[in-house]
Every structure is written in structure tokens, then in C-alpha cells.
Assembly symmetry: C2
Homo-oligomer: 457 residues x 2
């Protein structure tokens, strides 16, 4: 390592800024990409956000270093046993492989942005994003060509594309349109599982067999009906399990579909060079960790599973292995028993320009408590555990929680408890305050209409 030339990053630091925003799809040549990286870097480099981000990446690298040390200490003998563990895991994963189910993952194209375009067609011809100067939810396809993406702050989007139109989100409207899509989904699978406003998983096995049609034909029908109903386009993935369907729905986006043939050879070929980051559940950090061990694709995961076994948790091994083999849930998950509410927590948080005045912060907690309490009332639920979330001005996150003896939902109780926890943290300079209630149960009160069920077991 010593005596080498300084790495390129020291001279063109933005080239190393391979953040969330830049590691996606094709469609731009490398000059464009380079420019985009540079703009993002310049816009970010002095912010606390950027510092925190770098710190995290550094810590992950240190974690990689520690794991590598651990790996180095593994004896040959132990490694043999890790290989055996891997063989075991693969064998038991394979028992969960189901090829005979037809899953379709439907993903609305640039959903929020498309709804806005629908409601104001003039937006169709300009680069546009739904969100605020602080944060973008979705960008339309024109804006994406400038490098504007979701989860990017609006001010960076503006720097990438000064003409960018920022449209304030209108969630009520998106919900409406989402309900329209659901009417379509129900036709094909009354039990479809939705994953947010803009996507859903449908088990179309029964529909296909009853109507004697293929998954691909069903996907066509879904896309047609969704268009008819909502005037919006969506993309579909057709495969034999949820994960594969989800990955497939991204393949021919927008307004397309992709069918993965339900046979092992096709699945293995599909998965072989798939970047691990495509596995739902593998985010930036896990990707960085795996890359640190030279594991970039699902094929690499299989080849190096013994390394993963040596260095990660058994659950992580099993998850990565299963996913990389193209295996995942092929049946609908159990719906929550009446024992449980389907929701496990409810929360409310706000970001603001960093503040340290104690009274101001305490007042904000009070108002959060009222907001949260109102949300709880509207579902007739109460909760046992109060968690306060603080984000310091340097983006460090802290949580403090307290579990009570009996559940509460009134704003006064929530406020009192949250304030007490906040006070213990003073002095602090905060950019975010949040309150969350968990351990939820329906309110069994006089005339309330509990929409949920009594806490189970």
C-alpha cells in the first residue's frame, strides 16, 4: 500500500461520490454521469448531511476491515465446516423453491409525478419532480435525464436542472388514484398485497388456472385495465415468486412487462449476474459490505457463501443465499390474526432548522403529541410504549423510549412522557423531533369503534 500514487479521488473527489443518486440505470453517457456526480458533490460537500454520510461510509469500511480480520483468522478446518453449513442452507432453501405459482408485481411508473401530469398535462413536457426544495419524492422521466431522482433534495435537483418544476405533493389525490388501481388488482387476486401506494404483489395462480391464461396474458390485461381505469401506466414483473416478480417489474420500466420463465435454468441465468443491490432488502450498507468482500452479484454470493457464513449472521446468510438462488415467498403471508393489529406502531416527526431553545423544543413536542394523538384517535388505538426520536444538528439520531403500565392515547399523557424524556437530553441542538407509539391495542371504550382487534396471546 505504501509508496503508491495518491488515489484519483484526491484529485477529483466527486468521482468517488457513488451515492444513492448516481448508481442507477443507463441512458446517460459517462460524461453526463461525471458531470452529475460533480454537481452533486459541489452542492453537498460542505453540509452536515454529507459529513454524516461520509462518516457512516467510513464506519462501514472499518466494519469491513474488522470482518476481514475475523475472516483471516478462520482456520481451514473451520472453513470446511462453513462450506458444509452453506450446503445445508442451500439444501433447505431449495426445499422452499416453488415453480408453479404465478406472481405478478405491479409497479406504477413514476407514480406521483404521473398523477400530477395527468391533472396538469402541461407538466408532461417539462422536467418536473414532486416534492419540495428539501426532498424529492418522484421525478418525471424528463427530469430523470438530468440526473434528478427520488430521495434527492430539491435544491440539488435544481442545480442539476435549473428549469426543474417542483410540484408540492398531494397525497390525498395519490391515494385516490391508488384505490383505482386496487380495484383492478382485486379482479386478479382478491388477497393481493400492497406495498405502498404505487405497487402491489398479486398471486395470479388461481386466476390463471380458472381462466386458462398465462401470466404474461394476465400482465397485459392488468396493464390495460389500469390504464383504462387510471389513465396511468404501470410496469409488471411475472415470475414464480414475489421477489423475482418484483425484480422483473423493473426490467422493462416504464410501461412494460417482463416474464421470467418458471424453470430452474432460466432462474439461475437470470440471477447469475444480478447485482446484489437488486435484491429487495439489500440496501446501500449491505451492498457496500458485500462489495468489500468482492461480492457484487448473486452469482458471487453463491460462490462466496462460505465467506458470508464466516462473517455474517446465520439469518443474513440464509437470506442472501435464498435470494441469490432466486427463491422467496411463493404464498401469501398470513394476515394478522384478530389477536393483532396490522399496524405495529404509529409515529409523527418533523424536521426544522436546527434549534436548541429548550422551551421551543418542548412546545414542539407538545404539538407533535397532539398530532399523534389525533391520528391514534382516528383509528381508535392506544399504545403502551412512547418513543421520542431526536436528530441532532449533525444528523446523529437518538431514540429514547419508555414502556408504561397501561396504554395511553390522550395528547396530555403522550406530551408529558415525551417531554420528560426530551428534558433528560438537554442541552441538545436538534433538526428533527418525533414521537412514536407502539405496543398498540384498540381502545375498548364506550362508543368508540375499534377498527382493530385486541392484543393477542
Amino acid at each position: 500500500m505504501e509508496g503508491e500514487n495518491p488515489p484519483i479521488q484526491d484529485i477529483q473527489p466527486w468521482k468517488a461520490i457513488d451515492t444513492v443518486y448516481t448508481n442507477e440505470k443507463a441512458g446517460m453517457d459517462s460524461v453526463d454521469k461525471d458531470l452529475i456526480k460533480r454537481v452533486i458533490y459541489e452542492a453537498s460537500k460542505d453540509s452536515n448531511f454529507f459529513k454524516k454520510d461520509e462518516e457512516k461510509r467510513k464506519q462501514t469500511n472499518e466494519r469491513i476491515a474488522r470482518l476481514k480480520e475475523k475472516l483471516a483468522k478462520v482456520t481451514e478446518d473451520e472453513m470446511k465446516r462453513y462450506h458444509a453449513t452453506v450446503r445445508d442452507s442451500i439444501r433447505s432453501a431449495e426445499r422452499e423453491r416453488h415453480l408453479s405459482r404465478i406472481w405478478i408485481h405491479v409497479d406504477m411508473d413514476a407514480f406521483f409525478a404521473s398523477v400530477e401530469e395527468l391533472d396538469d398535462p402541461s407538466l408532461k413536457s417539462v422536467p418536473m419532480a414532486v416534492g419540495s426544495i428539501g426532498m424529492i419524492s418522484t421525478a418525471n422521466y424528463i427530469a430523470r435525464r438530468f440526473g434528478v431522482r427520488s430521495a434527492m433534495p430539491g435544491f440539488i435537483g435544481k442545480q442539476l436542472c435549473p428549469q426543474l418544476a417542483l410540484v408540492k405533493p398531494n397525497f390525498r389525490r395519490y391515494k385516490e388514484k391508488s384505490e383505482e388501481t386496487k380495484e383492478v388488482f382485486r379482479i386478479f387476486d382478491p388477497d393481493f398485497e400492497s406495498g405502498g401506494l404505487d405497487e402491489a404483489y398479486l398471486d395470479c395462480t388461481a386466476f390463471a388456472s380458472v381462466h386458462g391464461i398465462s401470466g404474461e396474458e394476465i400482465a397485459e390485461q392488468i396493464r390495460n385495465l389500469v390504464m383504462e381505469k387510471t389513465k396511468l401506466t404501470c410496469s409488471c414483473g411475472v415470475a414464480c415468486n414475489k421477489m423475482l416478480a418484483k425484480i422483473c417489474s423493473d426490467k422493462n420500466k416504464p410501461n412494460g412487462q417482463f416474464f421470467l420463465s418458471p424453470n430452474i435454468a432460466a432462474i439461475k441465468a437470470f440471477v447469475k449476474d444480478l447485482p446484489v443491490r437488486k435484491i429487495p432488502g439489500v440496501g446501500c450498507v449491505t451492498e457496500q459490505l458485500l462489495n468489500g468482500f468482492g461480492i457484487n452479484t448473486c452469482g458471487d454470493v453463491i460462490k462466496n457463501a462460505h465467506v458470508i457464513a464466516a462473517v455474517f449472521t446465520p439469518l443474513t446468510l440464509s437470506f442472501l443465499l435464498t435470494s441469490s438462488l432466486g427463491i422467496s415467498t411463493a404464498f401469501h403471508g398470513k394476515k394478522p390474526a384478530p389477536g393483532e393489529l396490522s399496524r405495529k406502531g404509529i409515529s409523527c416527526e418533523h424536521t426544522f432548522t436546527a434549534k436548541e431553545d429548550e422551551n421551543t423544543l418542548l412546545q414542539m413536542v407538545g404539538s407533535l403529541a397532539h398530532e399523534l394523538s389525533a391520528a391514534m384517535a382516528s383509528e381508535s388505538i392506544e399504545g403502551l410504549t412512547v418513543t421520542v426520536k431526536l436528530k441532532l444538528s449533525d444528523f446523529t439520531v437518538r431514540t429514547r423510549s419508555l414502556t408504561l403500565l397501561s396504554p395511553i392515547s390522550d395528547p396530555e399523557s403522550i406530551s408529558r412522557i415525551a417531554s420528560k424524556m426530551l428534558r433528560k437530553e438537554f442541552p441538545v441542538k436538534l433538526r428533527l423531533l418525533g414521537i412514536r407509539m407502539s405496543g398498540l391495542s384498540p381502545i375498548a371504550n364506550a362508543n368508540g369503534k375499534p377498527k382493530g382487534n385486541s392484543k393477542g396471546s
Copy 2:
């Protein structure tokens, strides 16, 4: 409930004493059984043990009452959803049903007692039990006819059968004989799983297919070879999974075998009237709880699964349902990865006549610490967590634990920490003291030979 005659138990209290000892096998007529119950009752009724036992049973009954209240509050609507949950659970359990594996559970007959008879044939003709006046491990079949059973204290055994010969256990010898049996088991399944000195689970699928013989034939061979090798008899259960094999090995005990045909009809018939207590994992308490809801057999579990869903934990539901359907593990469990030691804890405890002198108790902790440390040294392991176990003179059990920053194994450290925890409990009158170490890792020291592996993940 009011105005009824006093229940029979008030007059003949021993009839209600349906404890561990009396609710087993046939072979005695009801007069005998009644006599046995009465003797046991008379021998027990004034002891602290008996009081604690009654207290626990009472608490379980209160728990049943509470669960029934909860059940009563379940609305029709909720109950419908519990039914749906059950349907879901059954569907997913059925996906785990494997009929094509051949499992054999081998259970040595009255193992310790039989070894003693082998070494001293004069014991064959008299009622005999291995154990002490305080506790019996195993009784031979002659003694069993008097009602003497394992887990019964020797003094009660003597009251049931004054001629009872009590033989002191010789574990080294049993281990030797157990190793002999294992040599046999390895022939049929090199990966067999042992469950204590006297039983094992063998997956004989491969052996059967390689040698073109049936499970029943293999069981014959196992029994012959075990007899040849050890001069001891054993019993075998042959079925398509571990649980069923285990239950089957009990069917024709001693010196017999039982084959359960691997088809759903046969399994359903087998399981229908099987008492829940036969399910390995369902002990006295769960049995009592289930009986409290009128659930006595596996058939009842299936019929009343919605009740179980409403009242027990999802895991318990799934376990009881799966078991009652005759489904269980059909493949060898993963062996511990080199990441882990196969052992998760190591402990040492002693019972004595109740003491409250603090110095005496502290000295006892010191000697336990030395014992434990020696056991750990012999395996070259150390541990992070120290747990002290106390049993008060009234049989109440208390545990206190502390997790350290770095692992220990030397007697001084263990003793120091355990004593500190004990002192906090003073004053107490104890009949048992124990120490356990967990969070184990191999000692990576100079010339030690770690038999295990470094702590994982």
C-alpha cells in the same frame, strides 16, 4: 356450581393426585393404581415439594381461567379470522410434510437399570431402580409394576415397594455402553442425532435406498446389532419424520418396534386419538392448559385450533397444529457452524438440606465455582455471562445473572461474581445453589486445545 355435593376429592384426596408418576402406561388394574396414588399422596402431602407443586397447578388453573375470560370476549367476527389463521397455518404446515424419508428413533429400554442388570445379573429378578433415596433415574420393569418410575424420589419408591433395591448410578459405565450403541447407529446414518445417552434419531433414507431394504428391516437389524454389541434391548419407531418415529418407538416397548406407514391416511389415523402429552415438547403444564379447554388428543387440537389461536401464542399454535397433523422435521438440523460452539451453556448445581448461614452458603458458591471452572477448563472454554441459581427451602427458584465485558473461566472470577450476586439475596434459606456460564467461547490461549470454535457472526 353452588349447592352441589362436595367433590369426591374432598373425601379421597389422593384420587386427585394425578401427578407425573401415575398417569402412564397400562398393566395395572385400577385397584393397584388407586393404591399407588394413595401411597404417593400419603408420602408427599406434608412436604414443601408437594405444596409448591399444588401451588403451581393452582396457578395454571388460574391461567386457564384468565384465558377462558379472554376467549369469552372474542367476537364472532374475530373468531372467523382465527379460523382463517388456522387454515393458513395448516396450509403452510402441510407444505412441510415429507412422506418419503425413513426415520428411526431408537430408545434403549430402561437403559441405566438394564446396564446394571447386565453387570450384576442378580438384579434381574428383583425390583430395582438406579438412583438414590432422593431421586430415581430409571426403574427396571419389575419395579415399575409396583408403580416405581423415573423422576420419583427413592423414598416414595421404597414405600411403594419396600424390597426395592436402589443402585447408585455409574454414569461412566452408561456412557461406555452408550458409545457401543452409537457404533451401531453410525452404520445406518453417519450423521445420526443423539438425544441423551439412551436414544437417537437416525435418518435411514439413504441406507434404505442404497441397500434396497425397508425401514422395518433396518429397525430389525439395528435391534439385532445393538443386542449383539451391548447385550441390551432397545425399541425402535419407524416413521417418515423425527417426531412420529419417537412416538412410535414407545408403542412396543420394551424390545419391540413399530412402523407407521408413510401415507397421510395412516398418519391421520395414528394421530387422531393420540393424547397431546405424547407430543414431544408438550409437558405437564401445556397438557393441563389444553385439557382445561377440553383438548385432550391431537384430533381435538385440530378441531379446536381456533381456540388455541385465540388463546395461545402464534408459535404455540403453529407447533401444536403441525405436531397434531403428524408433521415435523424430516431432515437433519444444521450442525452448529464453526461460528458457534455446539454447547450454549455449562452449569453445576447441588441440592442440600436447607441452609441459611451466609458464610456456609458463600463457601458453597466458592466450591461450585471451582467445580464449574474445572469443567470449563476441560473443554477449554470461557464464558461472558454468570448466572446464579437459588432454590429456596419452599422450592421457589430464583436466578440472577450478570454479563461481563470480557469472558472468564477461572474459579476466582466466577466465585467473586457469583458471591456478589448471592449476597444481594441475603437473607435466604436455600436448598439448592447453582452456577451457570453462558455466552461461551473457546479459550484461544497459548497451548490450550480449544475443542470448539470461535464465537460467530
